[in-house]
Symmetry: C2
Subunit: 405 residues, 2 copies
């Protein structure tokens, strides 16, 4: 089992905090956005005497409510297509275990959410990756790049849309290319769509459940974590029209008994969140994205494409090794009492060399914190001993500037 690249620096962060440093957590998708008030009100009014198990597949009333939510978003599912899970994580685990046997393979465009690796590995499934590149903002790789990886053991192609860690939003056209590929080889298309609500600049997400003519080949992963800023609930969903896959997944669901009860109550309440909440959140994320991406690109040697969705971006830094740099930022560095924690990108790649100099940065802090975090990173790059050549020149000139102040 590989260690999570998002969480493995946590001990260094804990140690930095014990030393009194403020750590800006840009490493994890834990938004600081408030959970909708309707969730808190519902929980406070929850009046039961026994905190009971729910059905293994999740409360019926919640599944019905969730189906109505999808229908409002033009996605044709009903409550029987939905299995409520303990976070999107468990939905992924059930999906992989239900669609694949040990020794099977899944193809995922990289960089990809690092835990896909862990879930696949624990199911004995091999991940093969097709690389996408920072140069075109991590768009879908050419379909021709997928073809050579498809063997008789290939069971599925998996994507995240809008994507963690890149923020890339797949177009309908790209998804239809994937559909044709998947159809040609009779594979599953698994789409993690937990960031659906977070698309910017007028763009709309296109769900794999809206791809025509392949209902039995599609599994969609969802979660309340990001949508309602309630990551701690641990409520997700696995959605498919394929009855055989669903029946298998329900056996896994029965083995773990049920998803958390209180959190399902919270999830069902969250369905009543007014549109005004999302409008405010989207507008806030656009501001944050712009501050972060413009800030990062203003640092010499850093490049960062502007994402259309989710709340992550991938930045390339002028450093020898991003993991070493991230650890150094926590252990050795501080700027005005602060430092920045980021997720080294190598863990998001199978071909780790492509991620050697990249980090994933989440814009889940308020704009003031983000501005200071960018300055903190700028200073960190000036002082980091492993800076690459262009950066070193920049550092020298800036040190000169400081001396003049």
């Amino acid at each position: 089992m590989p260690a999570s690249p998002i969480r493995k620096l946590v001990p260094y962060a804990e140690s930095a905090k014990r030393q009194g440093k403020v750590v800006y957590h840009l490493n994890i998708g834990q938004p600081d956005i408030e959970t909708p008030q309707v969730v808190w009100d519902t929980l406070r009014g929850y009046d039961e005497k026994v905190l009971e198990y729910s059905l293994s597949e999740g409360n019926l009333s919640y599944r019905k409510g969730l189906a109505a939510y999808y229908q409002e978003h033009g996605i044709p599912v009903d409550e029987n297509d939905i299995l409520i899970t303990t976070g999107g994580s468990e939905a992924l685990l059930f999906t992989i275990n239900s669609c694949m046997d040990p020794g099977d393979e899944v193809i995922i465009p990289e960089p990809f959410y690092a835990n896909y690796n862990g879930f696949a590995q624990s199911a004995g499934v091999k991940v093969r990756s097709v690389t996408s590149f920072i140069e075109n903002g991590f768009a879908l790789p050419m379909i021709e790049d997928f073809e050579p990886l498809i063997t008789e053991r290939t069971k599925a192609i998996m994507i995240c849309n809008p994507a963690n860690p890149t923020g890339y939003l797949y177009s309908q056209e790209e998804l239809e290319q994937l559909r044709d590929l998947v159809r040609r080889h009779d594979l599953f298309l698994i789409a993690d769509e937990v960031y659906r609500e977070f698309t910017y600049d007028g763009e709309k997400p296109f769900s794999v459940l809206n791809l025509m003519g392949m209902e039995d080949n599609v599994i969609m992963i969802d979660s309340v974590s990001k949508r309602y800023s309630m990551c701690g609930a641990r409520i997700g969903a696995m959605i498919t029209k394929n009855k055989e896959v669903r029946d298998t997944a329900i056996k896994f669901a029965q083995a773990r008994l049920s998803p958390p009860t209180l959190a399902q109550v919270a999830g069902e309440a969250a369905l009543k969140t007014p549109q005004s909440y999302f409008d405010a959140v989207i507008s806030e994320y656009v501001q944050r994205r712009d501050i972060l991406v413009e800030g990062l690109n203003s640092i010499t040697g850093v490049r960062c494409p502007k994402p259309k969705g989710a709340f992550y971006c991938m930045a390339e830094l002028p450093v020898d090794d991003a993991e070493r740099f991230c650890q150094w930022m926590l252990e050795e560095f501080e700027y005005e009492g602060c430092t920045v924690m980021m997720a080294p990108a190598a863990g998001f790649y199978k071909n780790v060399e492509f991620g050697r100099r990249q980090v994933r940065v989440a814009y889940v802090l308020n704009t003031d914190a983000l501005k200071h975090a960018v300055e903190c990173l700028r200073e960190g790059l000036k002082q980091y001993p492993g800076l690459l050549a262009t950066g070193v020149q920049d550092q020298a000139s800036v040190i000169g500037n400081q001396a003049e102040d």
Copy 2:
């Protein structure tokens, strides 16, 4: 993945309820005991703005509180030995995945909690079983019966104490026999102790964590579900002094991000539950056990040992096939508008024939409901077409009686 024997009759129960029948759920360990008031009060007072992820290993304050609870119970662990999990289920899954590789084997006395099978199977681990028998109340099988099953692939022996599904409470002497066996072959001893609080007739549970001289070989599984009647929380714990096992388990924990946040708050609050709560609960369970076990044994052809712990018993019924009987009770039978749902025991055995005529019965309903459930079962056995010979005779005589009423 095998279907859960506890839950696979659920569709028949749902259907019975739609027909207007009252179904006495003796099939599942969902107590009707009230969750402690301190839990509800704490949840109502929970005042955060964002429902955040917790640490992957669980909140530090909760782990410290839990360590103090164990210390009060004479079990020497600290917060670093504890990994908080999403229910005891996840603790079992992490334990199996952390101690064993695909192809390895675990030995479990049968009958055993059916989901052990599912968790082992999803990890590619083979379960081998040593049969315990109703004749001596499902005591630990002879150590000589374990020895022949131990191969180079055997990694662990797993027990549940007090036991689900039998209610058997292992003595210190039995546990020391297991300790010697485990030491001789350098295995892990995994003990599911989630029913620790539920022991009767003055008996006290003995934790594997109190076995001397094998700290690195022991893993204990725990959960808040039964102790505080909060099964829906989905909070458990994996406890071990073995650092290597713990470090591996934490990688699995990181992949699923964190256990549910609200439920951890509930679990921490539950630690303040006063002893008077447990005293009342134990006294209630003793009453229930006595009503159920005496009631069952009063039915001709039924036998049921009196358990010393947990809130289950295993009963042998005079029927051709307990699963068929349980389904028939839901589909075809009613008595005064009611029927009874039980868990067919075959699913608790690897050697399913030993469980063919047995059911697991949980005494998680109040005494009036239990009395009526016993009468309902008595009537069901009179009418069931697949009754065995002794039962058939009994049925005939009782039908005669009914005609006289």
